[in-house]
Subunit: 227 residues, 2 copies
């Protein structure tokens, strides 16, 4: 167990894989998790081809959680969110932070990616919080990052990500880890329930991507603190 | 009637007044509307002190609509939105565009400004569309602009505003007028119903303003079209 290591559940998916490469490039050791350990190992190998100096391994989701000390990123589609959290419930322990990146995009029920569905808990982040063991903290973030931009290490991110959570210390830890990624500005967007407003921004950006043929992101202006 | 003139209903309020000054400074003739014609005239006088070369007059809301040709900005609090639209229904005519800036912030029902209320129509913008005469188009926008920054003409806006609407030509017209404001990037965020996601961003920014003691805004990254 290495407290500095970060697990990425769903790390074989687009967002998770791009994040794995960016973190590895920033010197953060990464464990890619997947339902299928073999696919995780293959993805880890692929990430190392692009980031030879990085530390990336691939394990099953539960083994990935066991291998790290504190921060577990959840990067799976909405329809797999609860199932994935349940599959690692025995491995999660008090003090762990789950960084949930889930966006309740309507394609989960056959709808358009420019629309979202309402989840009972109020937001995907709150749904995550309702499905982790007691003592495990949930922070949400990374909703508005383009997977394509993340994966292309030559691309300048030059944007912000909004994080939501109920414990300031946990948000600070997440900000410290994510802040190592070049060009990414971490902005505290408030308590976890604010995530319902933040998650919706992704659907807006997907529409903008379609309309302007780009990989749009957001940047929060007026934050001299972060400039 | 001057088709280039822009009416700002609620132009004596913070957002409306800041917008009046910015448009006037950009050379756009402005009519400040208010329930009280005298208050509108006083606000117009005050705007002209800061923008002596501008064209700003103050009239009652219905007279302000009559005085302009096409674009009417609605800048009133949520609780006054329907009432204000009803008060100018006889003056609005086919082809007019109402640019609705309303955000359904929870203070309208005694709640926090970092939270929003759900309106029956789905968004404040759709509620506006349900309360204008047939043939009048609604575009929403300017939700994330700080009134304080707008009013301070020495402040560099350096940000985007997302506009929503169902008619491309009307959004183009709004973008053309608002685009005259220095440092403001107009981004087409899609159909009017997307406004429900856009309006929520304001509540997030209000929380960021409280937390970081600033006047935050958003900038959409990756839009080389607008760079």
């Amino acid at each position: 167990m290495n407290t500095d290591k970060v697990a990425i559940l769903g790390g074989t998916g687009n967002l998770g894989f791009g994040l794995a490469k960016r973190l590895a490039a920033a010197g953060v050791p990464v464990v890619i998790g997947s339902r299928d350990a073999e696919r995780a190992a293959t993805a880890a190998k692929r990430a190392l081809e692009d980031v030879p100096a990085g530390s990336v391994e691939g394990l099953s989701n539960p083994d990935a959680v066991t291998a790290v000390g504190r921060l577990i990123v959840l990067a799976v589609p909405l329809a797999s969110q609860i199932e994935t959290l349940k599959s690692v419930a025995d491995q999660l322990s008090e003090g762990d932070i789950v960084l949930d990146t889930t966006v309740p995009l309507a394609p989960a029920i056959g709808g358009r990616p420019t629309q979202i569905v309402g989840v009972w808990a109020g937001s995907a982040a709150q749904q995550a919080a309702a499905n982790v063991p007691k003592g495990v903290s949930v922070v949400s973030g990374l909703h508005t990052l383009s997977a394509d931009l993340l994966e292309d290490l030559s691309a300048d991110l030059a944007q912000s990500t909004l994080i939501c959570g109920n414990r300031k210390a946990d948000k600070d830890y997440v900000a410290q880890v994510l802040g190592r990624i070049d060009g990414l500005d971490i902005v505290d967007a408030g308590p976890l329930d604010t995530s319902r407003l933040v998650e919706g921004i992704t659907a807006v950006l997907i529409g903008i991507n379609i309309r302007y043929k780009t990989h749009a992101g957001i940047s929060i202006t007026g934050l001299t603190v972060h400039d």
